[in-house]
């Protein structure tokens, strides 16, 4: 039992991921989908940050009497992944703006209806 509670940040990762994924699938609003997508990506950031923690380790700065350091590399990786995530979100929102201009709505169902009428 304790073993499962001890891994709580991984449970949080899974929960956040599923919440984000659910929003992407279930919400017809295009902006909410983008929000869901970003929450989905955020969960992976937490996953990387969690794995960087070394038990008893401090920040990776050399100092007297310190033997254990946390791993700094996942933080750096995630910094890059955050940039990718922000770029994706920005592009997604830009597309939503253009979709709004072209269709007059950001509701996925209404867009489908408009597309089918034009077929």
């Amino acid at each position: 039992m304790m073993e499962y509670i001890g891994l709580y940040n991984y449970w949080i990762v899974i929960m956040v991921m599923m919440i984000g994924f659910y929003i992407v699938i279930a919400r017809p609003n295009l902006i909410k989908k983008i929000i869901g997508l970003f929450i989905f990506q955020t969960s992976v950031f937490i996953l990387f940050i969690s794995m960087a923690k070394v038990e008893g380790g401090t920040a990776p700065i050399i100092g007297e009497g310190i033997t254990a350091y946390s791993n700094p590399l996942p933080h750096v990786l995630i910094l890059t992944a955050i940039v990718v995530g922000v770029a994706t979100t920005a592009l997604g929102l830009a597309l939503v703006v253009r979709i709004r201009e072209a269709y007059g709505t950001i509701n996925e169902d209404e867009i489908h209806v408009q597309d089918e009428v034009n077929e």
């Binding site: 994924f21 997508l37 996953l47 592009l91 597309d115």
Partner: protein, 497 residues
Amino acid sequence: MSDSVLAVHLPALLVVLPLVSAPVCLLLRDAGYAWAYTLVVSWCVFALAIVLLWQVFVEGTISYAMGAWAVPWGIEYRIDMPGALMVLIVSSIGSVVMPYAYTSVRHEIGESRSSLFYTCYLLCLTGLLCVVVTGDAFNLFVFLEISSLSSYVLISLGATRRSLTAAYQYLVMGTIGATFILIGVGLLYMMTGTLNMVDLSQRLSPICETRTIQVAFAFMTVGVSLKLALFPLHLWLPNAYTYAPSVISAFLAATATKVGVYVLLRFFFTVFGSRFSFESMHVGDILMILAVVAMFVASVVAVFQDNVKRMLAYSSVAQVGYIILGISLATVAGISAGMIHLFNHALIKGALFLAMGCIFLRTGSVDIQDMAGLARKMPLTMAAFVVGGLSLIGIPLTAGFISKWYLVEAALDGGHWPLAALILTSSLIALAYVWRVVEAAYFQPPGAGLHEVREAPVAMLVPTWVLIGANLYFGIDASLISRVARLGAETLLGFTG
């Protein structure tokens, strides 16, 4: 040659050249200058790719430490035979479509946004090339996203508003795929503490039966399958290819999904090793079933499409099925058949989408109804479509025949004779959809709207026919490509050094 500075830094140049050119292109503003500049850059990249392939032929696998940071701590660029072949495919398609782009882009996107188009095109090219040459798992994710993000933009530049929703749909699904890959990379790093692919493979073998590695494998497979549009994860592809600008449909159909397949090969064989992937995870069985379903379902759906670009897009999903089928056999014959079809399909689909672009330029439509009698007005374009279509079906003397031949041979070789029968049967469905277009264009009287229609301009016909010519050339003389593919398959399976 191998002593000169240029030759040593070739792998870096291949990526840096288009990457640095992209912002310069943005500054040029003028559509004509931007086009000429992109043309020169893409041709230079093609030249570099040829030299690179030659180097790999002569000297074997090239390992390049980016920024001179020692491997495995720094980022390694690693080019072996399959990688060199992929670089050649991407850069050759990239350079062939460029002369075509000038007229097509001006017509479909407009002068004012042209330089933005070429900037994104160069970024997309950079991303695709770097995904192939990199030997670092995280670097691969980053450049996969660079190519994907720029291809979302390129697709959204299409002529109708539906290109926007297609790009949006692709963005959502592509990002989910990329995030899955990122999770996989994270789990691998967690277990091994390295990101270098060769280093990963060595450190993975003692611990590969752990749950974490199995989960990482599953995330990777699903994520990459989304990117390469393996059935049933292909839902983004038909809309994206249908509503994208013609040049981009041709470019992405010929390169983006192929690079996805290459990433899959890299992870299955280089990182996880074929023993783990195929014997303990049984991924071959799953892929084989999905590939066969893709071949049939997507081909049948293609028959019922009235929009020819959409028809070709569904056909792409089916053709990805053939490629994956070859890989799922996990034998030298199977993988080399998959790689041969990967190369040939790039030529086929590139040519067919370019022909569609010619038709769209002159008639403003790619619907089958509007193509009635078009062969009399645009004989060269339609002839290109017919030859490309024959190659798609797999008629002898075309490249498609060579792929089908090797695929059937690989299936029989592995004792899967029902697979061989399925490959041949599904090719007949391709005959059905290609015939629908041929029937309309050649055997129906021209519609009233076709009076003003002329043959497409030379600048667009030449690239189309170059790819068609390549189809015929590689259909008659397949010794080069089969040799490269065989060497590549042997490298991946670890038979030779």
